[in-house]
Symmetry: C2
Subunit: 453 residues, 2 copies
């Protein structure tokens, strides 16, 4: 795997390659810096006549004003609802007619954007994006329409065990911190958000100094440079983000049970994770794969599903954010099996924290993770998304070249040490469902769901 | 769009291209014929070091024996559960360790397969596929496990309004024909399927004369040829398919209401479609986009959702099969709105059948459909899937070159004529939900759901 990618051209725009046989070199990731100084990572790929761009501004829903959770999310959902002299209907007709795909979304740390088009519609697509980023209108009609859709979604989620569990989990994990708030807001906060809030959010967040960009597709580096300047050059040079404090995941173990009369009980569990820049991150990533990351081969899947038939699926992952990190897992089961399911999960986490994985598990996980990463890059949009993430995570443009080596370097001792570090203290769990009587009485912290809080 | 793809090399394995500048030519679709005479369409793409293959054998669930609906589906689900001298566990460990993705599925007409791997795991991946296709074991343990999963899924579906509606719709549309049976079987039929049935299904269906293949990825044509022989060369030369009769969609209009106590009423509607090889197919495809194919711009979406707020989404599509074709639409709404929703849909279909689309709608739909096709090919797996479908549909290796011209050639008169042909006779509809009293009494054909029939 060390030689999967050839040496990368790390600087400059021009790339000349001489090929006699059919193209056999793998992706060349270039760093393109525009005449105006805007940087993007770029891969030229002419297999189909498409261009995909992904980008992210630091400053997600953690930037929402107090009492107005969902501001960033609502802004993302209305950026493409009219801009410049184009009203929402005209703007959407332009996109639709050329099959230009544009999307914005907000997570706790980032506002992300995506643009995808036929090569021949390139200039129109980037120009429409420029308008959305630099002069969104937030007209009353589309704003109220999008707000109504958001509220409709929040109402549906207010009766969904998975959503209730998720809100409760984040609230318990990060009490008092912006991460505790639902990214898409609440039934109470969303009605309070005004167009002025969206404008303020956009003014503070969409800037050139907190922006990472990747472009993959049928275009050359020089043209990419020009497109970057045209599209993003009109943004302010500096963002004005409200500082967000670092925060540790809540103390574990803790157990919350939320009674709800539904057939399937939703169960979430988690605890402190490992920061992305921690030297032990890859060891943690590998042991997480062993415990709950592999679809059909993980310990949790084997113990909870295959051996005991308690659930249909169970999985876990590592989540890393700018100000915290966590281990996070989820499953769902019948109400009368919820206790046994959670007990089994806890026992497996305890076991791996004490014994670590086996050498065979470690070898197989390494082998799988080396291969699966590339398999996840199998579209220009996904490839561009990964290149943005590598920039956000400060991994370096040669990360794909180095990744297999980093995986190979993880020893069994590393894996054991990290497993103890992550799972040695038990988990915080949230169950939402029909609570068996004995359980319910034992959990004074249980509360009825009050829509979204 | 006419020049999106360069002229294609239509024959032979060798392709030599001289490139000085970065690769800027779009995909070259080659026809590869192996030394043993097995044909595949092939696109070389070295952007990431992956190879994706898709293939299809004619002979899907329409080949299931009488009383044993679900045979093909169960065979597809167990092909990779042990083969040759590898039991299920060992086989899956091999796949997992190399992150090799293999999948089989069955529709009414086809058994489809998919293989995806890192370039460096190529030989092992194709060898594992060869084993699955030529010597599947159908051991008792994995067979009973997969059967139990299928039955579990069927039990869940037996209370799902969408699944109940779908089964009822197909049963009504194609009464007495193999297409009327659920592809994944029923709670009655699946327990009756024996390993011998699976072996017989595989023996009759997996052959070289009813096989279409496409390969996209980081491999050369000569190697593809060798892989084809190794992988598929051991299959019988000829399939032994039971003849399936052509059948027209049931007479319309017809209305079925199935009472079920659920919050959302599922509504399906449809009628006769247009065969894929009908000269009017593309006109039909375009008018379907106008009526219900466009996500946010279709007439149904506008009338049913935007103007009346009756539903969250509504869409329609053309379905073409080897022995019939249909127009098919679906939506869901509150029980007390189901009547108005269906009335609105019927009114819109009647209106377009009488008036046809406008020139502006036609122009915009053509523009969108020319662009969106390429956007749907944005991964090697999806590209390979499309190339298999073009072969199954007998469209010719230059279809992607010709497609925009075919779209451009559709006139407003064509569109009007075809709209009348498809929607002039009303639809067959199935609603599953809380039937308003007046409605229920007016539909003597209503039946209670009896699990799966």
């Amino acid at each position: 795997m060390m030689n999967v990618l050839p040496r990368l051209a790390a600087t400059g725009i021009a790339l000349v390659c001489l090929q006699i046989a059919p193209a056999s070199a793998a992706a060349k990731i270039q760093r393109v810096v525009s005449p105006g100084g805007i940087e993007a990572w770029f891969v030229q790929d002419a297999t189909v006549p498409l261009i995909a761009m992904q980008f992210a501004f630091t400053g997600g829903s953690a930037q929402d004003p107090d009492g107005k959770a969902g501001t960033g999310s609502l802004a993302a959902d209305t950026l493409d609802e009219g801009a410049g002299d184009l009203d929402s209907k005209t703007y959407h007709e332009r996109l639709e007619r050329r099959a230009i795909q544009m999307n914005f979304s907000v997570s706790r740390d980032y506002l992300r954007g995506s643009l995808r088009m036929l090569k021949e519609n390139r200039d129109e697509a980037f120009d429409l994006l420029r308008l959305a980023l630099t002069s969104p209108r937030f007209d009353a009609e589309p704003l109220e329409r999008v707000r109504a859709q958001t509220l409709s979604l929040l109402r549906r989620e207010s009766t969904s065990p998975g959503s209730i569990a998720s809100d409760r989990f984040w609230a318990a994990a990060y009490e008092g911190h912006p991460y505790a708030r639902p990214s898409n807001g609440t039934l109470e906060s969303v009605p309070k958000i005004e167009a002025a809030d969206l404008k303020d959010y956009v003014r503070r967040t969409l800037a050139r100094d907190n922006l990472k960009i990747a472009v993959v597709g049928d275009v050359d580096a020089e043209t990419v440079g020009k497109l970057l300047d045209k599209t993003f050059g009109g943004l302010p040079a500096k963002s004005e983000l409200t500082p967000v404090a670092n925060i540790d995941f809540a103390k574990t173990p803790q157990k919350f049970v939320v009674p709800l009369d539904v057939p399937q009980t939703a169960i979430l569990f988690g605890g402190a994770g490992i920061a992305r820049n921690d030297p032990d991150f890859m060891a943690a990533y590998i042991v997480n794969h062993i415990i709950g990351g592999g679809s059909l081969s993980s310990r949790l899947y084997h113990e909870v599903r295959e051996k005991r038939g308690l659930v249909y699926s169970v999985s876990s992952s590592l989540i890393w954010m700018n100000h915290s990190s966590m281990f996070f897992g989820s499953t769902a089961t019948r109400a009368d099996k919820a206790g046994e399911t959670l007990d089994t999960i806890n026992a497996e986490l305890k076991r791996i924290s004490e014994e670590g994985p086996t050498q065979k598990e470690l070898d197989e996980a390494k082998s799988y993770l080396k291969g699966s990463q590339m398999l996840a890059l199998d579209s220009s949009t996904k490839f561009a998304g990964a290149l943005v993430q590598y920039q956000l995570d400060n991994l370096g443009i040669d990360y794909l070249e180095r990744r297999s080596g980093i995986i190979d370097a993880v020893t069994l001792d590393d894996a054991k040490r990290v497993a103890k570090r992550i799972w040695g203290n038990g988990v915080l769990s949230v169950s939402v469902g029909r609570a068996p009587v004995a359980d319910a009485s034992a959990t004074p912290s249980a509360t009825a769901p009050t829509a979204k809080n």
